[in-house]
């Protein structure tokens, strides 16, 4: 039986002052429809709460780009949500952080790109490192729980020790070391971002030593990049199980990346109420249960644990969203993953400098990217863009 959408994520806008090379937003974000107005977001909050949603993520893009963020937070608080703001920190002034507290915001997750100004600013293509440190101090001063989030990849994973020390200095209660998941912009940049196995093992060892030293005073989550696993992640706890995401234009999604899945006609909150969308729409029912599965998933004793892994990853790597996630070593496509890892290992072992071409997430690039093809607009490592 289908339960309620306990976790509601509102991607309030795709606008973002940062241009991160691993952003999971759709590469064609600049071609999506207009953002929902305040009244529609409030209706979504009410309908989802009536269904049983209780954890609310406010994300984007950068949610602080919305001037009505405080209004949305206040309504969500009145409805009884636990409200998480997922932000780069850009735009989080003293006045706004105080207003959000009054409105009822529960928690702030602040992203850093690295422990060094140089790499933080390069990876986000902005000068934001000092700003983020100031925002971290504001978060503490206003008594919010702080989660510091750093997306890890080949270019910063060797700095994990310094990143953890920075988190401790900034007073974070939780640290998420989230290895890049390869969707959206990160998929375009996979060759440049995938770490080697040796890098990953070093980072895990450093993280474990830090955990032992801080003895529970800071909780550290280390999200392993699934390319290095032999079984896939139980993506979203199964599509259509607990997660409901709403894109800036009102598109309702059973996972953050579901817009990419071909043939999945995602409903829009402008046209249907959430109860109908969650329980009755074809898109939300497509990957519920096990009826959609192919072999080897269909007869696998582990199918109820991982639900066949990630549909978007199956599609990106094999071209068919109903295939077993190739991360699984029972998948006939598993070699696609091991080959990518082997390439990353060989790049790491090479002594000659290799060419890096990174695609930064921005409006201009988004327009130029043709789904399934290499982007025509690129930025290069070492080119400081303004």
């Amino acid at each position: 039986m289908t339960g309620p959408p306990l976790w509601l994520l509102l991607e309030l806008t795709y606008r973002c002052p940062l241009h991160c090379v691993y952003c999971y937003n759709p590469t064609e974000f600049a071609r999506t429809g207009a953002e929902l107005p305040t009244a529609d977001w409030i209706r979504v909050l009410r309908e989802a709460r009536a269904l049983g949603a209780v954890q609310l993520g406010l994300s984007g893009g950068e949610p602080l780009e919305r001037e009505d963020l405080e209004t949305i937070v206040a309504e969500a608080h009145t409805l009884g949500y636990y409200i998480n703001l997922i932000t780069s920190g850009v735009g989080l002034s003293e006045a706004r952080i105080a207003a959000l507290k009054v409105a009822g915001l529960d928690h702030i997750q602040l992203s850093f790109q690295d422990s060094t100004r140089e790499l933080n600013d390069f990876l986000s293509s902005t000068r934001t490192f000092e700003l983020k440190a100031r925002v971290a101090a504001l978060i503490r001063a206003h008594d919010y729980p702080m989660v510091l989030n750093v997306v890890l990849h080949r270019l910063n994973i060797d700095h994990v020790g310094e990143i953890l020390d920075m988190a401790e200095r900034l007073g974070a209660q939780y640290v998420e070391l989230a290895n890049t998941q390869y969707y959206g912009w990160a998929w375009l940049n996979r060759q440049q971002l995938l770490p080697s196995r040796a890098q990953l093992e070093r980072a895990e060892a450093v993280t474990q030593r830090f955990r032992e030293r801080v003895a529970g005073s800071i909780q550290v989550y280390f999200v392993v990049p699934d390319y290095f696993e032999r079984r896939p992640k139980a993506c979203m706890g199964g599509l259509g199980s607990v997660f409901l995401g709403i894109a800036p234009d009102g598109t309702a999604m059973p996972c953050h990346a579901a817009r990419m899945l071909p043939g999945l006609e995602l409903p829009n909150v402008r046209a249907a109420d959430l109860r109908t969308i969650w329980y009755d729409s074809e898109a939300f029912n497509r990957f519920r249960g096990e009826g959609w599965m192919k072999e080897p998933c269909r007869s696998c004793p582990e199918r109820a644990q991982d639900f066949g892994g990630c549909r978007c990853q199956a599609y990106l790597l094999t071209g068919d969203a109903t295939n077993t996630d190739p991360v699984c070593d029972l998948s006939p496509h598993h070699h696609l993953v091991t080959e990518a890892v082997a390439r990353a290992d060989s790049v790491a072992a090479a002594t000659a400098p290799s060419e890096h071409v990174l695609v930064f997430r921005d409006h201009r690039t988004s327009i130029a990217v043709v789904p399934g093809e290499a982007p025509r607009v690129v930025g290069g490592l070492g080119t400081q863009r303004t």
């Binding site: 306990l6 049983g52 209780v54 954890q55 993520g57 009884g80 636990y82």
Partner: protein
Amino acid sequence: MNELTDTVKPAIARGMRLQWEPAQEAHVLLYPEGMVKLNGSAGAILSRCDGVRTLADIVADLERAYDTSGLLEEVRAFVTMALEKRWLELRA
């Protein structure tokens, strides 16, 4: 951790929130990007941890509410576990 005395005053830890969720017919504990769905006895204990009542008060209240006795050790064990998980903290 030494055994808790029955004069400690447990409270829901800062950054955590306890609330009743009709859709789940359960108390839930909410924290940054996470949620614990509590069973009946866990919900009954945590909803009495207000930083004012002592462990002894909480036990007495539960024994009255459920018309039973001898709950001290069970409640002490749960509160100890919840402190370790940082669901609860002690107030002066």
